[in-house]
Every structure is written in C-alpha cells, then in structure tokens.
Amino acid sequence: MAKAKLMDFDKALELFEPVLGFEVHVELNTRTKMFSTAPNYFGGEPNTNITPVDLGLPGSLPVVNGQAVRYSISLGLALGCSIAPSSRFARKNYFYPDLAKNYQISQYDEPIAFEGSVDVELADGRTFTVPIERAHMEEDAGKLTHVGGATGRIQGAEYSLVDYNRAGVPLVEIVTKPIFGAGADAPELAKAYVATIRDIVVALGISDARMERGNLRCDANVSLRPYGQEKLGTRTETKNVNSLRSVERAVRYEIQRQAQILADGGTIIQETRHWHEDTGATSAGRPKSDADDYRYFPEPDLLPVVPSAELIEELRAALPEPPAARRRRLKQEWGFTDLEFQDVQNAGLLVEVSETVAAGASPQAARKWWSGEISRLANARGAEAASLVSPSDVAALVSLIDSGALNDRLARQVLEGVIDGEGSPQKVVDARGLAVVSDDGALIAAIDEALAAQPDVLAKIKDGKVQAAGAVIGAVMKAMKGQADAARVRELVIERAAE
C-alpha cells in the first residue's frame, strides 16, 4: 500500500472547509438481544448465546425487546430528538455471512428518534452544537475470523469462521447531520463528540460504552470544499475507529489526505476507508456502488412501535442530568482546580469520587485517594480503579484518618487489606492491629525516652527551636512502628520538652 501524500494540516484548512458527519453505533446493555431471548453476551464459547431467531432458522420469528425500545427512547430524548409517534423496522438486504438471514433488521424511513442536537464541550471550554439527524434501532452482526492468507485480513483468506454470539445484540445508530464550521477544531470536535455520546449513554446506564470492546463504534465522514462553495465535496467514510484518540487522528488524516488530492487536481472517490491504528493512516475499502442498494422494505415479521405519550414523558422525567452540566456543577461544588478536575475526569473517576463524597468524605480527600493510591494500585495490578474498592469503603477509610485513628501510612496498608478482600476498613484495622496508638501514656513514655537519648535536641527545643523536634518525632514514630499520629506526637514532644 503506497503511502498517501498528506498536506500540512494548517495549509489544508487555509484552502478548504472540512465538513464532518458521524455514525455512532451504541450497543445496548440489555440482558437479552434485540429480537431474541438469547443473552446479550458475546464473549465465551462461540455460537452458544444464540437462538433459532439469531440464526434466521426457518419458522423462527423475532419479537422486539421492550427494554431495548425504552433505552432507545431515553437515548433519543437525551440527544434532544423528537420521538416518532409511530416507527417501524425494515429489512436491509445484503449478502454477507456476518448475519445468517441475508438481511439485517434495522429502521429505515421511520426511525424511533429524529431531529435533535448535542452540545459538545471542547477542551478550552467552548461549546459546539452538533445537529442530530436520527437515531434508529437495529441489530448487531456476528464476528468473522478470516483464516489463511498472510495478514488475517479478508483479502487472500482461504475461508472465514463465523461466531453469531454478537448477532442480534441491540444497537442504536446515531446519525448526525453534516457538521459545518468546525474548521481547525474538526479533529478535536470529532473526539469530543464521541466522548459526549459515551458520557450520555453511560449516564443513562444503557450501554457499557467500552470502545475497545466495540460497545461504541464510530464511522467518521469527512469531506472538504473550497471556502464559499455551497455544494458539499465528495466524502469518505472511515470505519474501524475504536478509540477516542483514533477518531481525532482519523479525521485529521482524512483532511490532510483529501486536501492534497484536491490541491493536486485529483478527485476524491466516495468510498469506505479503514483506519489503521498502527500506521495512523486510512486505506481504501470498497467504493460505494451497487452493493449499497439494500432494497429496504418494511419488516413483515414485526409490528409498529407506537410509544404512548405517557411512556415518553415518564422516560423524559427520568433522564439524568446532561453530562456537561453535571461536570460543571461537580467542579464547582467540589472546589477543584481545572487541573484537579481534569485528572479525575480523565481517569474516569468522576462517579467514584462523587459517590465517595456522597458517603461522607471531603471532595479533596476523595480525589486524593482515588487519583493517588487507588489508581497506583490499580495500575500495578492491571485492574480498573473502580473495581478494586467501593466508594463507601474509601469514605470509611477517610473517616478513620479524619478521626485520628489512622495516619496516611497506616491507611495505605488498610486500603491494601480492603482490596485484598479482608473486609471493611475498620475490620482490617482490627484484624491487622493497625490503629494509631492514641494512648498518650505510651506515647509520652516513648517521647521521654527519645528526648533522654538526644539531650542536644532537647536543649534546642527548650531554646525555642521547635523545628528541631523533627528528630525526636521521627524516633518516636519509629518506636511506635509508625502507628502514631505525628501531629499528636509533635504536640506532646513540645509539651514534654518544656517541662
């Protein structure tokens, strides 16, 4: 594959206006599939989470998952869309073994949600409104593995293997209208848009939204036109973009690639392109052609979806606070600096910190433990921070520190105990005997001993050189095996030295 010539990004933007469009597929986390009772789970043994419906066996009939419809309506409402008073399913006909029926059940002329908009926040705080054309329900396809040939790719493969566990998983496809005016922000906007969709579906609790697992997939459409030209340029559709960073890079790449072709007097071919994470480039897929003639027609096996106004209003009333508004509110309530808040947000710990604060910890303490020690341990163990410990346990740990029962060093040991399944923080403290020695008698004995051993230090403290107390405090902490409250030790050292 010859490497495409790329125009400098800034130069490309001097010459052309980029126009974007996105199709984002969201896998819903219902318990069962869109049209069958098979579990919505596609790890594990191939071809075990399937029913005759998922294989399109003769005599099998699809039945719509009511929960998937409710989730779809909620998502439509969160995208500011109108919900269709009546919508229906359609067959999208094509021959490809990722679905056994030779058609995908989708929605065509009557999507469940249409005409909305999403406010997307850029890193510098500006808000960009992305217009939504529609959101429709459909089913996911099975997974193909191409065998033979050098690259594991479809070209040159000897045969392919099909696992239908994912076939029939509920999807909502969100389609934007053409997005104008992003200019040099286009790559960032692409990333921020997908991140916003992810935040919305996570807030709604309707998808696991893990891009690396394909729960959320983005096809990015890019076209260029000379400034002042009304007519849209020919667009390409880049698929296989499965991380936020890739979305940004793929859009930037397509702008640079197309600009070079146009500047050289060439024409853009309307085609599907594939993003390659390793090379940071897109390559040509198939051209748009006759194969796109899907001969949609109304799905005769399914009945119209006619949501009542009551249902729509009930779901509207239950919508969570929009993610951007929630972020602004939390940042203010917590009194975090921009940097502190971004740290928490980028680490995906907003929910954890929020719940820890709700359980009684101060925002700063919650942030400190989640972004610090817990993230460090998560890293070391190759796990998600949120999976290691519950917000309520973190709040309990903070409370033990605040009450003076634990210092930070002991608290870290207690945290490890909690993570290792030894029970609540208090239980770990009791079981491991980790509490700070709060018995002044024991502390005073150790202090007197340390002062007697360092008469020069004692003299300095008596002279008012309080900072000299550090040496004594260190000795006492060592004698107490770290299980003392350093602040209390300091108070007592000064008290004893004065006597």
Binding site: N47, T48, D290
Partner: protein, 99 residues
Amino acid sequence: MSEITQEQVAHLANLARIALTPQEIESLTSELGSIVDNVAKVSEVATPDVPATSHPIPLQNVYRDDEPGVTLTSEQALAGAPDHDGSRFRVTAILGEEQ
C-alpha cells in the same frame, strides 16, 4: 404502461444473487410491469386520509420482557451447517467483498 426495464430486472437479480436467463429477464420484466401497473391503479383511489400501512393486522407494540431464555448449544447451532470447525460456521472465501 410500466416503467420496469430489463436492466432493472437484471440489476435486481444480481443484487438478489439469482441467475436469470435472458428469456427469464424478458418475461419477468413484463410480469413485474403488470404488478407495478396494478399497484398504481390502487394508488389512484387512495386518498390522503387513508394512512399507509405496512401490516395487515391492526396490532402494535408487541414486546417481549428482557428475560433470557433457552439457547442453542453450539452442536445444535452447527448441526445444519454445510461446514464448521467444531464451534464456528465455516464459509468459503469472501474475497474482495467487505461489510
């Protein structure tokens, strides 16, 4: 008269992976043309107050609870497969075609 052409029929046959002889294309063009003409006749009497319908049965909102049911084993799933590798369906080379 119908606007169905032989090219359209050949195109549709190709999309549907149906091999047609030139004679079949010719007869189907005329048959499909009559069907389209008849449908057009019905459209003449349909007024704006007759809503379009995609289903003959006046039912809507037939939903299923989101409860998992019985699944096939991979042996059952593969029982009717022309070819498989023990757990997955095996299909012949797809070559240049892509999703």
